[in-house]
Structure formats: structure tokens, C-alpha cells
């Protein structure tokens, strides 16, 4: 009589041991994984109910702050959609983006009940949220965004000597407040469904064909090779026949590169002649061009606070494919770049061949206003020798003074620049401008891209469409 009852008891108690094992697994072993699961609403709720730090621009203007008190904090964004991409959001429904995500730990108040933070509190550690000082100049950002207007595209301005980002514009933008408020669901769905993709950060997350601004790389490869100088001359046909194929390369206007039978590298650069650079590339060979592109960071991960799409030189070996190499040398074919990378590239030229790591946050400041961490500028890579960089600078100065980049001229300041008009099959071209100023002591380097020609459409060109945007932005910086 008793042994079956004993066995039933044993069965129940074994069941409870299994419960115990499951509970230990859920609450101890796998707790962190489940707890931080993005679908666990607690994670987001805990964040939104906690005070978060403030972000200010380089001169102290508040860009985002937490308003309210004790568990009812609301993130407010005084500049609306101007800074949506770099600042980002921490949203219950749409996850975390931008600096709000990257600096989540610093920005969050540590006043909670985790054992470590309670102990830290007893030890007198500061539990208040930290604040961020950004490198962005909000006035400059405003000018750049206004200059770009309703056109889709991006503007990135960088301090060449440090890599500090001065303006970070991706249009169309979005107001992060829409994604965290009570109407976040419908607002977010609208943004998500918008064909212009306002939630896409074009600065780091969109790859474009660079067009002629890539000639900077080709020029650097030529000068670094030692075989070609700015004075080296090449033939000047209306259309350059590409060996081993039926296709030809011609210049944007369909004419020769200026007059004369021969054209120098310098004139080819200033007038942005495709025929000249195709010959340069075929003279140099694919290896030298690819090596130079790699020196500028093509195919490398850019060290940045956000993940940056990798710029691409070519997916295939171009050594035996001269037509492809010729097209690559003028920034067509398979070359793809991000606006941030192009800004870094031109900042590298301005910085005499040294590319700096880009950064957005200059200081982390504690609750008392004391600086906790200061970002030290860090070199990323050496792209070219100083002499090559200086030679290219001179070419870019000439391009602005007497060539395609005239639209970027600023009264009283020498601007260096290079335009690009990247052709797209069956669509309007992307208009590019990269440059810096003042040419001899650069304090700002800039990359502008206007997607599919912007308002000008098929008529768009780097000189007409992108250069004026860069001009307005740089002028605001140099003559505040």
C-alpha cells in the first residue's frame, strides 16, 4: 500500500526538481539573454523612465535633453529633424539608433537597484547620467541642411587636422521625437514606408558611385608612382578607344580636353577629363591604382562610432581588363563610396596625406560638469606622401579657380575642391563635391553628394549642383 504512494511522492518531487532546474536556467543561466532580448519591453521601459544625459554641440547649444522628473522623463529634441541621424533615438518600438545607442551606458542614469550600482552609490560614486559634447557645430549643420534643402543627399564636414566632424547631414531627416512619443507606432510606420527612406543614414549607410572625385585617388597613385608628374602629358582624343573592346571613353561635354594634341595631368584634373585619367590608369596598371585606393581606406572598415558601409574599389581583379580599369579610374564601373569616406579622403589631402579617425563626441562630462573623457584625435592611415598631397591640393585649387569647381569659390578665401558627376544607368547622375578651405591652412574639409541630381535632375553636375552647397557651408565656417 505504501510503496505506490512513495513512488507517487517521488514522481511529484522529481517534477519539482525539474521545475527547479528550469527556473535556475531561466533566472540565472540564461537570464541575461532573455532579459536583454529586444522584445522584452522592460529593457526599453527602464531606459525611458530613467534620466538620460544631455548632448550639446561644440559651443554648448543643447541638442537633446531629458525633461521632467522622477520616472517620467521625456527626451526632447530642440532642433527636430536637423540632427535626427547623428543623435538617433532610444525607442520602445523602434530600438536604438545613433549616439543614443552608442553611448547608452554613459547617458543612462545609474540610479537603479542593480547590486553593483547600489554598492557604487554607497561608495559615493556619481550615479547621475553623463553628458556628451559633440564636435558638431549646430549653426554649420543648419546652413548645410538648408543648402541641401529638399534634395536627397548628404553633407559631411570634417576638421582635417583632428577628424572631428563639424556637420553631419543626411536628408531627408527625421525628428526622433516622433519615434518615442505616444504616436510612435504610426509615425514610425510612416517613416518606414516613405520611399525616400528618411530613416537611412546616408552619411555612413549609403554607397554611391563617386564619379570624378575619384580622380583624386588616381592622381595620387600617379604621383606616388614617381613615373608620372603633374606635367606629364597624354594624348587628347575626343573619344578614347579602350583596348580589347569596342567601347570608348569620352569627356563629359563630348569634346577634347581643351585644345591641343597633348594634355597634361594638371589640365586633365582641372577640367576633369575622363580621357586623360583613363590613359593615366592604363599606364599605371591596376595594381598601383588599387594599392592607392587601399591607402585611402577603400575596402577597410572606418573606425567610427557607427558602423560605416565599406567603400569598394572593385569586386574583381582589373589587371587583365583595361576597359574596366579605365572606367574605374574615373570613379565609375564598380567603385562605391560613402559620403563620410569621401570627406575623410579629402580631409586627408588637406592634412598632407594623413587620414584621421573621424569622431562625433569630443567630451564625456559628468553630472558636475567635470570632463571625464576627452577624445584624442587619432591618425587612421597614411594615404600619400606630403608632397603628393600638396601637389593634389594645388590641382584642386586650380580646379576651383579656373575649372569645374568654380561654384565653390569664396571671396577672400582660397578654396581647394574637386567635382564629380557620377553617372547612373537610366537615372539622373549623383552630383558630388569634395574640397577644403583655406587651401594653405585648412580648417574645414567637406563632402557633398546630391542623390540623382536633386532638383536639377538630368541636368545636374557636381559643379552646378553640389559645389554651391559646399560653398555655403564652408563660408559659414570660415566667416561666421
Amino acid at each position: 500500500m505504501n510503496s505506490p504512494i512513495r513512488r507517487l511522492t517521488l514522481a511529484l518531487l522529481i517534477g519539482f526538481c525539474l521545475l527547479l532546474a528550469n527556473v535556475v536556467y531561466i533566472q540565472a543561466v540564461a537570464a541575461d539573454r532573455y532579459r536583454s532580448d529586444h522584445r522584452n519591453a522592460r529593457v526599453q521601459l527602464a531606459r525611458s523612465e530613467r534620466e538620460r544625459g544631455v548632448m550639446v554641440d561644440r559651443s554648448g547649444a543643447v541638442l537633446v535633453s531629458s525633461e521632467g522628473q522622477a520616472s517620467t522623463f521625456l527626451r526632447t529634441y530642440p532642433f527636430g529633424d536637423l540632427l535626427g541621424h547623428p543623435i538617433g533615438f532610444s525607442s520602445l518600438l523602434f530600438g536604438d539608433r545613433g549616439l543614443e545607442a552608442a553611448y547608452a551606458t554613459d547617458l543612462r542614469s545609474k540610479q537603479d537597484l542593480t547590486i553593483s550600482n547600489v554598492i557604487a552609490g554607497i561608495l559615493g560614486n556619481d550615479l547621475r547620467p553623463a553628458n556628451l559634447r559633440l564636435t558638431i557645430d549646430v549653426a554649420l549643420q543648419q546652413v548645410a541642411a538648408e543648402a541641401l534643402g529638399d534634395q536627397v543627399g548628404a553633407v559631411v564636414a570634417i576638421e582635417p587636422s583632428t577628424g572631428a566632424i563639424l556637420a553631419y547631414v543626411s536628408t531627408p531627416g527625421f525628428d526622433p521625437a516622433l519615434l518615442i512619443g505616444g504616436e510612435a507606432g504610426p509615425a514610425g510606420d510612416t517613416l518606414d514606408a516613405d520611399p525616400a527612406e528618411p530613416l537611412r543614414d546616408r552619411v555612413v549607410n549609403q554607397l554611391y558611385a563617386p564619379g570624378s572625385i575619384f580622380k583624386i585617388v588616381t592622381t595620387a597613385a600617379a604621383l606616388e608612382s614617381g613615373e608620372i608628374t603633374v606635367e606629364s602629358t597624354f594624348s587628347n582624343p575626343t573619344a578614347l578607344a579602350l583596348p580589347g573592346s569596342e567601347s570608348t571613353i569620352s569627356n563629359a561635354d563630348g569634346h577634347t580636353c581643351g585644345s591641343g594634341a597633348e594634355v597634361s595631368l594638371a589640365r586633365g584634373f582641372v577640367l576633369s577629363c575622363n580621357t586623360t585619367f583613363a590613359q593615366i590608369a592604363m599606364t599605371l596598371g591596376a595594381g598601383a591604382l588599387e594599392a592607392q585606393a587601399e591607402a585611402f581606406g577603400f575596402g577597410s572598415e572606418i573606425p567610427f562610432v557607427f558602423p560605416v558601409a565599406e567603400s569598394m574599389f572593385s569586386p574583381v581583379d582589373l589587371a587583365d581588363d583595361l576597359p574596366a580599369l579605365a572606367q574605374t579610374s574615373i570613379g565609375q564601373r564598380d567603385v562605391r563610396v560613402t559620403p563620410l569616406h569621401m570627406a575623410l579622403m579629402v580631409a586627408g589631402i588637406a592634412n598632407r596625406g594623413d587620414l584621421m579617425s573621424p569622431y562625433l563626441v569630443s567630451e564625456i562630462i559628468d553630472g558636475d560638469g567635470q570632463i571625464v573623457t576627452t577624445t584624442q584625435p587619432a591618425p587612421w592611415r597614411k594615404a600619400s606622401s606630403e608632397s603628393t598631397a600638396l601637389a593634389i591640393t594645388q590641382l584642386m585649387v586650380d580646379a576651383v579657380n579656373s575649372g569645374t569647381g568654380a561654384g565653390a569659390r569664396i571671396d577672400g578665401v582660397q578654396v581647394a575642391g574637386k567635382t564629380g558627376t557620377a553617372e547612373n544607368p537610366d537615372q539622373a547622375p549623383h552630383a558630388w563635391f569634395v574640397g577644403f578651405a583655406p587651401a594653405d591652412q585648412p580648417t574645414i574639409a567637406i563632402a557633398v553628394v546630391v542623390e540623382f541630381g536633386g532638383l536639377a535632375g538630368d541636368e545636374a553636375s557636381g559643379g552646378q549642383t553640389a559645389a554651391p552647397i559646399a560653398q555655403k557651408t564652408m563660408e559659414r565656417w570660415l566667416k561666421p
Binding site: I5, R6, L13, F16, N22, A31, N40, R42, L113
Partner: protein, 431 residues
């Protein structure tokens, strides 16, 4: 342990309930006040009166069960208060009513003993059948007692007394009646069931004639419960049947046949009911069906995981994100706020109640009492095991309540009576 120690522990449990409610108030930055005092008062009144009744009518009864039940009720009540203070005030009434019925049970059995249940087994069976079909009464008719459909299941009965409408699930009481009937029936026929057998292949079966009443009871209760779509309760009842037959006869045949019947029943339920398929799916891969069927289980797991080792603290977690937190998922809510330590303590309390109850069964000398104690404890233990197992994904989720902790009057009342019966049995057996 002495009666005085029992009283002291009951007082401690009442203080814990008040402390829990006070913590919820502190966490919510509300003034500590009436609710704390009221909770303490209700707990002391309910369990104190029960304790007094045990002293008077079952002085030799086990002293362990009441404090454990009181502490479970205290933790449950604090958590329900934290989730929904209005539900907590209703729960307080149910605790008082449940304790009252427990006292009534002790008083009723004080002169005649549990043997009275043995004598009136067929009346209990009829009563159980009657209660089972009560929810199938029309929802609209002149009598004050009506069936009630809640969430598509017809498990509820509404008793409209004019000034107050009371709702209850007769299934919980049916469980007790069926266990008592079975204990009585099996105690009577134990010899016949054990001795006279008929061999079918490798299995030995009792004479079919001996089995008729049991099969009738089983088919009736099972059928009605399936009709009412309360699969959790049918599973519970069915397992209790099998367990008690096994306990009475010691024959593995019953386990094998029971297992087979269960498999057939489960397969049939799976193919017949869409909601059974959904539950199975939600059990196996809850996170892949997060948006739909897996939502409830996933959130239960998130809650437990967010509690981690020591919990968020009462009133400081977010158990309101769990659907059905006060009823089916109270364990997950407590696990979030009291952490792994709290969950393990809750499990330990149930395991202790099972040990004490089965201990009473093991040491009972009278067959009927032995089977009654074993049956009651088994149903209690299995119910706890199934619902907690459903939350931690050991089993598919069954919509049954966690004894003493979940919100719900019928369940509380039934479990108070169950504990009172166990105490009475232990008193009669002086163990």
C-alpha cells in the same frame, strides 16, 4: 513542532503579507496605510480562526500545513495587490470565505470524522456530477443560478442572490468530491481490485464488473470537462484517477493503461481543438510565435529572467506586462519581483506541503484515510507542478490556478477545504 509554534508562524505569515503590501506602497511612493493594516487583519483573522478551529476540533492534526498555506497566500496576496489592488481586496474576501469553509469542514467532521465521507460516497459522486454540469445551465433563465461563458470556456456559474452576484468555478470543488469518492470506492473494493484479475496479454486487469462505477465516473467527468474545454482540469482529474488506482492496487497496469489513454486523449484533443495545437506550438517555440501565440509564455520568461537572482523587489518590477499575471502567471510575477531566491522558496513551500501531505498518507493506518490523503495531496501537487511547469516551459501551458497564490475564489476555497481535510486526517491518524 507545537501548536503554539504553528500560531506564531501564522502570525509571522500575516506580518509578511502586511510587509509585502507595505513594500508595494513604498515602491509606488504611496502612503503606507489602510491597506497594510487591512491585509494584516484579514490574514490574522482567516488563518488565526482556522488555527483556533484546529486547536478545538483537530488538536492532533499536523501543524505544518497551515503556516505554509498562510505564507503562500501572503506572498500571493502581496503580488496580487501589486498587480491590481482591486483584485487584492476581492481576494481578501475569498481568503476569509475559504478559511470559513475550512473551519466549517473541521467542525462538520469533528463528531463524525472523515469516515462520514466514506459512507456517503455516491451522494458525493452525484453532487460532483451535478456541479460539473452547472456551468452548462442556460445563461438567461428565471432561476438565480446560471451558467456563464468566460473567454469561450463554460466553466463558471453565476449565483445571483439579488443583492450580490457571486461567480465560481464548480470544477475546483468537483476535484475534491471526486478524490473523496475515489478514495472511498477504492478503499472498499481494494481487495477485489487487487485479487480478482483477468489476464489480457501481459497485463492483469480487475474484473470488469468492479470497474464499472469508476469508468462511469471517469467518462462522465472527463466528457463534461472536455465539452467545457477545460483540458487542464480534465488532465488533473484523470491523473488523480490513475494515481489513486495505482496507490490502491500497486499495479503498474494502471499506469501503463493510464499513460496510453492519456496519449490517445492528448492526440485526440490535439487534432480536435485548434487551441490545443496553438498551446503546443507556443510551448515548443514561444519566441518564434512571439507576436501571436507565444506572447504570453515569452513574456512570462522575460519576467522571470528580468527578476534574475534576487528580483527587482516587490512593486519595482514590471509584472503587469505579463498577460493574466494575477491568475495563471502569478508565479512569473513573483519570480520577477523576488528573483530566483523567491521562486525557489515558493517551489520549496509546495514541495514541503507535498511531503507533509504524502507523509500523512504514508502513516495513515486506515485505507480510506490513506487514499484520501494521498489523492488530495497528489491533486494539489500535480496542479502546482502543471501550472508552474507551464510557465517555465517544462509542460505546455494549462489554464489552471496555482493553489493559494493565484487570484480566484473557487480555487482558494477548494484548497482551504483540502488543507482542512488533510489536517483532519492527520488528527484522526494521530501522525
Amino acid at each position: 513542532m507545537t501548536r503554539n509554534a504553528e500560531g506564531a508562524l501564522i502570525l509571522a505569515a500575516a506580518l509578511m503579507a502586511a510587509f509585502g503590501v507595505a513594500l508595494v506602497n513604498i515602491a509606488g511612493q504611496q502612503p503606507i496605510g489602510a491597506d497594510v493594516a487591512l491585509t494584516f487583519f484579514v490574514m490574522v483573522t482567516a488563518f488565526g480562526a482556522l488555527h483556533a478551529a484546529v486547536r478545538r476540533w483537530a488538536p492532533k492534526g499536523t501543524p505544518y500545513l497551515l503556516p505554509l498555506a498562510a505564507l503562500l497566500a501572503a506572498v500571493g496576496l502581496s503580488e496580487i495587490y501589486r498587480l491590481n489592488p482591486e483584485m487584492a481586496s476581492l481576494q481578501k474576501w475569498w481568503i476569509l470565505i475559504g478559511a470559513g469553509l475550512g473551519i466549517l469542514t473541521l467542525w462538520g467532521l469533528s463528531s463524525v470524522g472523515t469516515q462520514i465521507l466514506r459512507r456517503y460516497r455516491y451522494i458525493m459522486l452525484l453532487l460532483a456530477m451535478g456541479l460539473l454540469v452547472l456551468p452548462l445551465l442556460p445563461q438567461q433563465w428565471p432561476l438565480p443560478i446560471r451558467g456563464l461563458a468566460v473567454n469561450g470556456s463554460r466553466l463558471w456559474v453565476s449565483l445571483d442572490l439579488g443583492f450580490i452576484e457571486m461567480r465560481f468555478q464548480p470544477g475546483e470543488i468537483v476535484k475534491l468530491l471526486m478524490v473523496a469518492f475515489l478514495a472511498s470506492f477504492l478503499a472498499e473494493r481494494q481487495a477485489a481490485l487487487t485479487m480478482r484479475t483477468r489476464k489480457v496479454g501481459p497485463f492483469e486487469f480487475p474484473e470488469p464488473r468492479q470497474m464499472i462505477p469508476i469508468l462511469v465516473a471517469w467518462f462522465a467527468s472527463f466528457g463534461v470537462m472536455v465539452y467545457q474545454r477545460d483540458l487542464g482540469a480534465s488532465l488533473l482529474l484523470f491523473s488523480a484517477f490513475i494515481a489513486m488506482m495505482y496507490a490502491a492496487t500497486g499495479r503498474n497496469t494502471y499506469l501503463v493503461v493510464g499513460g496510453g489513454l492519456f496519449t490517445i486523449g492528448a492526440a485526440a484533443a490535439w487534432s480536435a481543438f485548434a487551441h490545443v495545437q496553438t498551446r503546443l506550438e507556443a510551448w515548443l517555440v514561444p519566441f518564434e510565435h512571439y507576436e501571436t501565440t507565444g506572447y504570453q509564455i515569452s513574456n512570462g520568461i522575460f519576467a522571470l529572467a528580468s527578476g534574475s537572482l534576487s528580483g527587482t523587489g516587490l512593486g519595482l518590477g514590471r509584472p503587469s506586462l505579463i498577460a493574466f499575471a494575477p491568475t495563471d502567471f502569478i508565479f512569473a510575477a513573483v519570480g520577477e519581483e523576488l528573483g530566483l531566491v523567491g521562486s525557489v522558496l515558493i517551489l520549496a513551500m509546495y514541495a514541503l506541503i507535498i511531503s507533509v501531505g504524502m507523509g500523512i498518507a504514508l502513516r495513515s493506518r486506515d485505507l480510506f484515510r490513506k487514499l484520501l490523503a494521498a489523492g488530495l495531496t497528489f491533486t494539489f501537487g500535480l496542479q502546482s507542478l502543471l501550472i508552474i511547469g507551464g510557465i517555465v516551459r517544462l509542460f505546455p501551458l494549462t489554464g489552471i490556478t496555482l493553489p493559494f497564490m493565484s487570484y480566484g475564489g473557487s480555487s482558494l476555497v477548494a484548497n482551504f477545504v483540502l488543507i482542512a481535510l488533510l489536517i483532519r486526517i492527520s488528527h484522526e491518524e494521530r501522525v
